[in-house]
């Protein structure tokens, strides 16, 4: 049988499928009014919340940093927090804008490339937020404590204790990376755990890179002989 002969069978199949599709107009109308409009809302709201929190942290920490510009301890702790927060907030803002701009009515290759690129940024943001968070949570807490209460917390903390916490963070980070690679193939993970493990282990990034590679190959002009 020639491949083109299957077109007729395929068309007949389509006609049969068409008949099996039942549309509940009342429910459809209801969904459009409520759920369809809210379908993207959790994602957009979550990203908007991340951006808002990031800006709030920056606004709280920058005056603390400005007030202690001559103290290396503050420059390291508050400076790291400012850089980290500004970076993650910028990435979240980028994701928020991209998610609002998405138009799935564009050409398939262009839209799929956009989807995969957004995924890459998303996985990187999640990965670096987790890794960075483990390292800077203590200095961040101390700086934020001062920002909120005015009490100079960093000056009261022993430097050795601060460094020990940083080292402990590094150990947690290393263990987390090892565990994420170990559990990446487990099928029984909950969705949020799967997301974390995929992002930390690098699996999600590898998958997105593979899809981008597929797209490039697909778009490449083929010669009849290739």
């Amino acid at each position: 049988m020639q491949f083109d002969d299957l077109k007729a069978a395929w068309a007949a199949h389509g006609t049969m499928l068409e008949r099996s599709l039942a549309i509940d107009e009342r429910l459809l109308r209801e969904m459009m009014l409520r759920k369809f409009r809210l379908a993207l809302a959790p994602y957009v709201l979550w990203r908007a919340l991340e951006v808002a929190v990031g800006i709030a942290v920056l606004l709280a920490v920058l005056p603390v940093l400005a007030a202690h510009m001559s103290e290396p301890r503050y420059i390291v702790a508050a400076g790291a927090l400012v850089v980290f927060t500004a970076w993650i907030t910028a990435l979240c803002a980028h994701l928020l804008v991209r998610s609002l701009q998405f138009d799935r009515g564009g050409p398939v290759t262009a839209i799929q490339r956009d989807v995969e690129r957004v995924k890459v940024v998303e996985y990187r943001t999640l990965k670096w937020a987790l890794l960075g968070g483990v390292l800077i949570w203590l200095p961040a807490t101390l700086v934020l404590f001062e920002a909120l209460t005015g009490v100079d917390a960093i000056a009261r903390v022993d430097l050795a204790w601060l460094v020990a916490n940083l080292l402990f963070g590094l150990v947690v980070l290393a263990v987390g990376l090892v565990l994420s690679k170990k559990y990446v193939e487990r099928p029984d993970l909950r969705p949020w755990a799967r997301r974390l493990v995929n992002a930390l282990s690098g699996r999600a990034l590898r998958t997105a890179a593979r899809h981008l590679d597929e797209l490039t190959k697909f778009e490449r002009e083929e010669t009849p002989a290739s």
Partner: protein, 175 residues
């Protein structure tokens, strides 16, 4: 576009949407989810449709983009899917909707293709010309022609192999 217009749009293109859902979904639940997501995206993108391309092209693009993303999402961690009880569009489990032997074999062969090659084949099987396929996928017309030649050759071989192995399997099944 209001609700009745969306319903009409879905009705007009029900065959197209359903065939894409059938080719990318792994089971009946998947297919309903894909159809549902296509409806959501059609509704969400309605203001962006400016008539620069044909309505069919626009629906194809949305349906394929949704189906490919759905297919690439891991089965075990599908987030954001609408709960099944909220489905406004259902697929009746009518026995006549089951594909014939040829179409079943074809779907098995198409299953082995990549998500984008599969889209190309589906568009071709639906009788679209090279220019329309190129417009939906965003590649050049000449690229469509060359790719189709290659894929059709591969599919013909795969189809014949599967058909042959099915014929040899049958006596054992009867026994």
């Amino acid at each position: 576009m209001e609700a009745p217009e969306l319903t009409d749009l879905i009705r007009r293109h029900a065959g197209l949407i359903h065939k894409i859902a059938y080719a990318y979904g792994r089971d009946a639940t998947d297919r309903e989810d894909v159809v549902q997501e296509v409806a959501v995206q059609l509704w969400r993108s309605r203001h962006r449709y400016d008539g620069r391309c044909k309505e069919t092209t626009w629906v194809y693009r949305i349906a394929l983009n949704v189906a490919i993303s759905f297919h690439r999402r891991e089965r075990r961690h599908r987030e954001g899917r609408l709960p099944i009880e909220t489905h406004a569009i259902t697929i009746a489990a009518a026995p006549q909707a089951e594909p014939g032997e040829d179409v079943q074999l074809l779907l098995h062969c198409v299953e082995d293709l990549g998500a984008l090659d599969k889209a190309l084949v589906l568009l071709y099987l639906d009788g679209n010309d090279h220019a329309s396929i190129a417009e939906v996928l965003g590649i050049s017309v000449s690229n469509v022609g060359t790719k189709l030649l290659r894929i059709k050759d591969n599919l013909r071989v795969a189809f014949e192999q599967r058909a042959r192995s099915k014929r040899t399997e049958r006596p054992h099944a009867i026994r």
